[in-house]
């Protein structure tokens, strides 16, 4: 049952932390303690299991029987799951420590830390649950926590809207996810993942269920076309971006596909959809990242693109490559976001156009950033190189046929991935150059010309940017190690068997991506070199606007989905008010009116009343005669 501690401790401490009163000063301490202890406990348990457990750890108990469906409440941690849990726990711990310093002036730190704990626990629940219902619970808790955390800074004008958008867009996918899970469970009669994987589904049911689950995966992992929430989620605090992007939320979808991969392996249609989705996402994210001016949005779009690599690897039949890339991506993306947070903390703005020249003032941050970007672009021997190489190899291998996915899907994924290597190198170089090289654009000629923070914590940017304080620096440095070296773990046999990874073999196939990488980086550097201090993205010309807006997919969604739904809601409201309500109220007013008329009739003068009575008597007599047939 020790495996239950991995999600259990952060969840419990997060729930306790929600009870803490928000406040500044001394009151932050218990909240910070709870958050860090939760993440650290999860990390320790995971590490212990990794070191001392030699076979998958399982624990489950019967929970409830719904009709013919047995629901269990169980945990299982294979080696792969433990590695993912390790990544989650490490990132969560770094984020918790980092947040203590990053949110030093935020009075609502206590609920924030508790929510981060909850978020981490939910992700760990998704990772370790051996039961689809448990996965579903963790999945939903993550959705709720992401809403709370993205909208944490309520004073930002875009934060609440971004939170609502993230919640709604992922919710659209979650509806499909819920239906798919229900389909799988009902058909198999159990919710245990092991039993589900062994169950023999008919092709139609399986394809339908997997496509529905893919909708949920697309929502959570920010795959086309449900990726639009992710760049907007940058409105949340930077550590939250690190948490969401690196290890938790976006990884959940990939991990779920990995977990259910035996089922996907039986359905070429689902894999084809996944592959096309991945290819589109890779290119879309990479191209959109090229033109962003917001540091965090560059990273966000790069996340979209990298998640596309993972799903692409899954589509071409290599879940091991996907998981490997997930782990390395968790390391370098967390590093990048935390370092970006340090940059933002120092400069006081998100905009690349206002940075520059930071290299001398923030060497630690610069080198960490450089390592992260190198890993992102796939510079050997950094982590990203090995994992991306694995993905490319798997895709190239799949183009020869023999995998479940159709060959054309493998071609699409492979070409998209190769092209994205070029683009990734380009925008990574651009990011590094714009932020850290050249002259400083952080200040106007008269010193700092913008202020940081809000009413109660406003300060001007320091004249000289400097490296962040220790609580922020150490997590960055800690994460720089796996970002640089995790790729070499592919040579470690234990790690390889855990992930079922192939032996790394460097052959001539790696030349093509390296050439593309050099071309991309060189192009960016050459543009920068030609006109120093000018954003290389200027060279994109008119396409820049399209890229910067993410191919206007937001507008498209607004036109195609949001507005029709709003119009429909208005129609429904109007129907409710004018028809249903009006019918009820009309009955009331009508009755009152009729009562008024009757009251008036009761107040008529005597003679009129007499006329009415006698006329009524005459009429009754006439009716009686008519129907009685007397006359």
């Amino acid at each position: 049952m020790i495996v239950a501690l991995i999600p259990g401790v952060p969840l419990l401490l997060g729930l306790i932390g929600l009870l803490l009163p928000p406040g500044d000063g001394e009151r932050r301490r218990p909240a910070a303690t709870l958050g860090i202890v939760g993440a650290a406990a999860a990390l320790l348990v995971t590490l212990g299991l990794l070191l001392f457990a030699h076979k998958p750890v399982e624990a489950s108990t019967h929970w409830v029987t719904l009709g013919s469906v047995e629901l269990t409440f169980g945990f299982s941690a294979g080696m792969a799951a433990l590695y993912v849990a390790l990544a989650v726990a490490v990132v969560a711990l770094c984020v918790q420590i980092y947040s203590v310093a990053y949110l030093h002036d935020d009075p609502r730190y206590a609920p924030y830390a508790a929510q981060v704990s909850l978020f981490t626990g939910a992700m760990l629940l998704v990772v370790t649950s051996s039961d689809l219902i448990g996965t579903l619970i963790g999945w939903e808790v993550m959705g709720a926590c992401s809403y709370l955390l993205i909208g944490h800074d309520r004073r930002l004008p875009e934060a609440p809207a971004a939170a609502v958008k993230a919640f709604l867009v992922t919710r659209v996918g979650d509806v499909g996810f819920l239906l798919g899970v229900a389909l799988l469970i009902v058909d198999a009669g159990t919710s245990r993942i092991a039993a589900l994987l062994a169950h023999d589904y008919s092709t139609g049911t399986l394809t339908a269920a997997l496509l529905l689950i893919l909708a949920g995966v697309a929502g959570k992992s920010a795959q086309f076309p449900l990726h639009t929430w992710l760049p907007d989620a940058m409105a949340g605090p930077t550590p939250i971006s690190a948490l969401i992007h690196a290890a938790t939320m976006v990884a959940a979808g990939v991990y779920l596909v990995f977990r259910l991969y035996p089922l996907f392996d039986r359905s070429p249609a689902a894999l084809a959809v996944l592959g096309v989705m991945a290819a589109v996402t890779i290119l879309l994210g990479a191209l959109s990242a090229t033109a962003q001016d917001d540091l965090k949005r560059v990273l966000a779009w790069s996340t979209v693109s990298q998640i596309g690599y993972m799903t692409g690897a899954l589509a071409v039949g290599s879940p091991a490559a996907a998981l490997f890339h997930l782990l390395t991506h968790a390391a370098f993306k967390a590093l990048l976001f935390l370092a970006a947070g340090a940059v933002i903390h120092a400069v006081g703005t998100n905009y690349l156009s206002r940075m520059g020249g930071l290299r001398e003032h923030m060497p630690v941050t610069f080198w960490s950033f450089a390592v992260g970007l190198g890993a992102l672009a796939g510079v050997p021997p950094l982590a990203g190189f090995w994992s991306k190489e694995n993905v490319l190899t798997a895709a190239a291998h799949a183009t020869e046929g023999g995998e479940t996915a159709p060959v054309w899907v493998a071609w699409v994924v492979w070409l998209a991935a190769l092209l994205a290597v070029l683009i990734t190198a380009w925008y990574a170089t651009r990011l590094l150059l714009c932020a850290f090289f050249g002259i400083s654009r952080a200040h106007g000629p008269d010193g700092p010309d913008w202020e940081i923070g809000f009413d109660d914590a406003r300060y001007t940017a320091p004249a000289t940017p400097h490296d962040p304080p220790g609580a922020m620096r150490w997590p960055i440095l800690l994460l720089a190690v796996p970002a640089a070296l995790l790729g070499l773990a592919a040579y470690a046999p234990g790690f390889r068997t855990a992930l079922e990874l192939d032996d790394p073999h460097l052959d001539v196939a790696i030349v093509l991506p390296l050439v593309l990488l050099a071309a991309g980086a060189g192009a960016a550097w050459w543009l920068w070199r030609a006109v120093p201090g000018v954003d290389p993205a200027e060279a994109l010309g008119p396409a820049r606007h399209v890229f910067a807006n993410g191919f206007h997919l937001d507008t498209l969604q607004d036109r195609a989905v949001v507005r029709p739904v709003r119009a429909l809601a208005k129609v429904v409201t109007a129907t409710d008010e004018r028809v249903v309500d009006a019918a009820v109220e009309g009955t009331g007013t009508g009755t009152t009116g009729a009562g008024e008329v009757l009251a008036m009739a009761h107040r008529v003068p005597l003679p009129t009343a007499a006329v009415a009575v006698l006329a009524g008597a005459l009429l009754l007599g006439a009716v009686a005669v008519w129907f009685g047939g007397v006359a």
Binding site: R603, V604, P605, L606, P607, A610, V611, L614
Partner: protein, 122 residues
């Protein structure tokens, strides 16, 4: 004798009474018209007394009735109606006179029926 003659006379008298009740504004004249209607009913009772002999034969008398009522009870009913009419006129005229004292008028159209409500509303 042809019974239809008093019957039709009674019907016409009744119609005149109805007309008078509806037409007249003066309360006393309305009372007079009511008398006409009552007399029409009386006439019908008496005419029925004279014309319908056999209708009531064979009807079991009530236990309290001794001697058993004869079929020809129309005249008695006419007497009762006359008594009731006298009572009605007495009370009706008292009301009219009282109203006249209060309002100096006996016009039915102007009798305020919802004066009480208006006072409460004020």
């Amino acid at each position: 004798m042809h019974a239809v003659i008093p019957y039709v006379i009674a019907a016409l008298l009744f119609a005149l009474g109805v007309y008078g009740v509806l037409r007249r504004r003066n309360a006393i004249l309305v009372l007079m018209a009511v008398e006409l209607m009552l007399n029409a009913v009386n006439l019908i009772l008496v005419a029925a007394d004279a014309s319908i002999k056999s209708t009531l034969s064979g009807v079991q008398p009530e236990a309290w009735a001794y001697p058993a009522p004869e079929p020809k009870a129309g005249a008695i009913f006419a007497l009762f109606v006359i008594v009731i009419a006298a009572a009605e006129v007495g009370v009706g005229l008292a009301i009219v006179l009282q109203y006249y004292r209060l309002r100096r008028a006996v016009v039915l159209d102007e009798v305020p029926l919802h004066e009480h409500e208006e006072q409460e509303a004020r």
